[in-house]
């Protein structure tokens, strides 16, 4: 028996098919546009427009009162590199970014591993998550007094060594940033822990059991199975932490209030200080542009890495 012959597809049929495809796509595109239009308008009005305005402002010679908006080229950007304490700002911001990525992640992961299947797990989780729901300004105020010369930390440390300690954690250049970062960790490790627990819950049990039978120790299971499978979650958490680290403001604003060089404690605080306290709006705008560029660059790199890792384990 001969196989039935497929009828030839004519050019006319092909054209028709293409036309129908396009029409269908266009129809659904129009419907989609109707639905996203309000959101799009809001984003444009409250996000895109201010961003563009800020970008424009950063290239002007804008001065207080005069409203001069003549083109200043890269003047404000050049000025950034002339700030005498720029290195302090950069070092502190770097400490923030590194500290904000690694510490909440490490502590969050440790807690997540520790709390899995422990009696009273829910209670502990809630407890560690609690600081997250407090306003950063409130957290900062509380910790300001914890770190105060006559605060809890010095009192406890003093009792431990049997000698009065009145160290000013938030008044010394080499302890203020680590101290505020620890408060940040205290506040954010809960959300890190919860996200990592969610990530872990999504890891199938079977490969872990298989590794167990394959002879892996707990550490080897973590190192070779859980960690690689958790990596996509780790990247998401990292991106959130990077953004938080670069834009750290509230805590520093409150806790660094008594520190003379507060403006150099992070790029975000520096930006606010120059823009509003010093009324150098155009300069502040340039700092904002640099800050955004950094955040976008780092987040983008992490997103690329994240999608690579994710593709590998699917």
């Amino acid at each position: 028996m001969q196989a039935p012959q497929t009828p030839p597809i004519s050019a006319a049929i092909r054209a028709e098919a293409h036309r129908r495809e396009v029409a269908a796509r266009r129809r659904s595109g129009r419907v989609a546009l109707v639905f996203i239009a309000p959101a799009l308008a809001l984003v444009a009005l409250f996000l895109l427009l201010p961003v563009l305005f800020n970008l424009g402002l950063s290239f002007t010679r804008w001065q207080r009162f005069s409203g001069l908006d003549e083109f200043g080229g890269l003047m404000n950007y050049q000025r950034l590199f002339m700030v005498p304490y720029l290195s302090e700002v950069v070092i502190n911001t770097a400490m923030w970014v590194i500290g904000a990525i690694t510490l909440p992640l490490a502590f969050g992961l440790g807690l997540a591993l520790l709390l899995r299947g422990v009696p009273g797990e829910g209670l502990f989780k809630a407890l560690f998550f609690l600081p997250r729901v407090l306003a950063p300004a409130a957290v900062g105020t509380i910790w300001f007094y914890v770190y105060a010369p006559d605060g809890v930390i010095n009192t406890l440390a003093g009792a431990a060594v049997g000698q009065e300690i009145d160290y000013g954690w938030l008044f010394e250049s080499h302890t203020i940033t680590p101290a505020i970062i620890m408060t940040f960790v205290w506040q954010t490790l809960g959300i890190n822990m919860v996200l990592l627990l969610l990530g872990m819950a999504a890891i199938p049990r079977d490969p872990i059991e298989a590794a167990h039978v394959d002879g892996a120790s707990s550490w080897q299971i973590f190192r070779h199975i859980i960690w690689p499978l958790l990596l996509p979650t780790v990247f998401v958490v990292t991106i959130l932490n990077v953004i938080a680290g670069f834009t750290a403001f509230d805590l520093i604003w409150v806790m660094g209030n008594g520190y003379p060089a507060q403006r150099s404690l992070s790029l975000a605080v520096f930006m606010y200080y120059e823009t509003f306290s010093n009324s150098r709006w155009a300069f502040g705008a340039a700092i904002a542009v640099m800050l955004s560029a950094l955040v976008i660059l780092v987040s983008w790199a992490l997103t690329v890495m994240q999608s690579r890792v994710e593709a590998r384990i699917r």
Partner: protein
């Protein structure tokens, strides 16, 4: 779109939103805790002018300044608003949006309300552009009981007496001076005072770029400051409650604006009974006797003044003894009007001292220094207070000078 136009539309939108169109004029201010006094001033100004004037408080100061600046940049200055004198007033007047008040000041001086000295505080290049909301001198407030406990009969009249009194107070268990560094601005207080007590001309020179921050004049003031720290004359600069050591009577003296008398009174230290005031004596007998004056101006929009001539009557009222008394009664604030009653014993003490010694008035460092340098320099001074060593003093002076130099180089 031009930024200027955008600013203007933003400012107009904002003002339309904050002040209803029914008012003739709005009086903007950022002074926190003076609500009762402002209410009285606004009521009196409305009555005097026949205009419907509304009050509008905007805080914090950052936001207030940003609002006023963008309004002016957009060509729509608020009709009446409070501002700062010195360099802040200079740059405000440069915009050409602020009304000239020469006639009003001539009248006020003729009435005996103010003297030429006050007029000078509110003038730019000899022309007065503002009227006083508040004039505050910076004496040393002292705890009378502490002085009695230390066996001190009268406030010090010479530098040696000051040192002797400080030592006696220490002996009696007091820290001689309360010296907080709260809120990022208090660092300049002792710096300016020691400059003024050693070389008032150099102090003025610092604010216009003619005297360097690491020259011999500043070196001398910083040496005294460091020495005072070494002698244990100051309270812990890390304390965040600025009057704590005065109120709990650990410290005996407090170098600060006389408006602090009101704050101390609220915390149970009655001016006149518990608290007295004196002007810090000069370090060398031949140094000119000087007093640091902080003045808070009220300014008027030139356009508004032109549109509503009655606004001048409001301004006249705000300069009057009645307005000064209203503010004094409401909030214990002294307007500087010579014909008002002193709102408390501290103000009357300082009035008496000034009447007797006739010291030279200098504008407070904060207002006198270019606004762009304020924050950068004062944070250096704060840094010194937290680490008051000779080594740090040198670093602070050099850093201040490099900031100062680069600012003036750009002008």
């Amino acid at each position: 779109m031009k930024i200027k136009t955008l600013m203007a539309s933003a400012a107009i939108t904002a003002s339309a939103w904050t002040a209803a169109a029914a008012q003739d004029a709005t009086f903007y201010y950022d002074k926190n805790g003076w609500d009762e006094g402002f209410a009285a001033l606004i009521e009196g100004a409305s009555e005097a002018s026949g205009l419907d004037i509304a009050g509008q408080q905007l805080t914090p100061t950052d936001r207030y300044q940003a609002y006023v600046m963008s309004s002016i940049a957009g060509g729509a200055a608020p009709a009446i608003f409070t501002w700062w004198n010195g360099k802040q007033l200079d740059s405000l007047v440069e915009t050409g949006e602020i009304a000239d008040l020469t006639e009003l000041w001539d009248e006020a001086i003729a009435n005996g309300w103010f003297s030429e000295a006050e007029r000078e505080l509110f003038s730019v290049d000899g022309t007065p552009y503002a009227i006083p909301l508040n004039v505050a001198r910076w004496p040393v407030l002292y705890n009378k009981d502490a002085f009695a406990a230390a066996g001190i009969d009268a406030p010090p009249a010479t530098w040696d007496e000051l040192l002797a009194d400080a030592d006696a107070l220490k002996e009696a268990g007091y820290i001689p001076f309360n010296a907080p560094a709260v809120g990022g601005w208090m660092g300049f207080i002792w710096f300016s005072e020691l400059m003024v007590r050693t070389d008032p001309d150099a102090f003025v020179g610092l604010t216009d770029g003619t005297v360097p921050y690491n020259g011999p004049e500043v070196q001398r003031a910083m040496e005294i400051w460091t020495d005072f720290y070494e002698r244990g004359y100051f309270t812990d600069a890390r304390e965040q409650d600025e009057t704590r050591f005065m109120v709990n009577e650990e410290a005996a003296m407090y170098l600060i604006g006389e408006w602090t008398a009101g704050i101390l009174a609220n915390r149970g230290m009655e001016p006149g009974e518990k608290i007295g005031a004196f002007l810090m004596p000069p370090v060398d007998a031949e140094t000119e006797n000087t007093v640091i004056v902080e003045a808070a101006p009220i300014v008027f929009s030139a356009d508004a003044m032109e549109e509503m001539p009655a606004l001048m009557d409001a301004a006249r009222y705000l300069m009057s003894p009645e307005a000064g008394n209203a503010l004094g009664q409401a909030n214990g604030i002294y307007s500087g009007n010579l014909m008002t009653d002193a709102p408390n014993a501290i103000v009357s003490d300082v009035n008496a001292i000034i009447a007797e010694d006739a010291p030279r008035s200098v504008v407070r460092w904060w207002e006198a220094v270019p606004p762009e340098l304020q924050g950068d320099l004062v944070s250096q001074m704060n840094a010194f207070m937290l680490d008051p060593t000779a080594e740090n003093a040198q670093r602070v002076m050099d850093d201040m000078q490099s900031l100062n130099e680069s600012y003036w180089a750009f002008q």
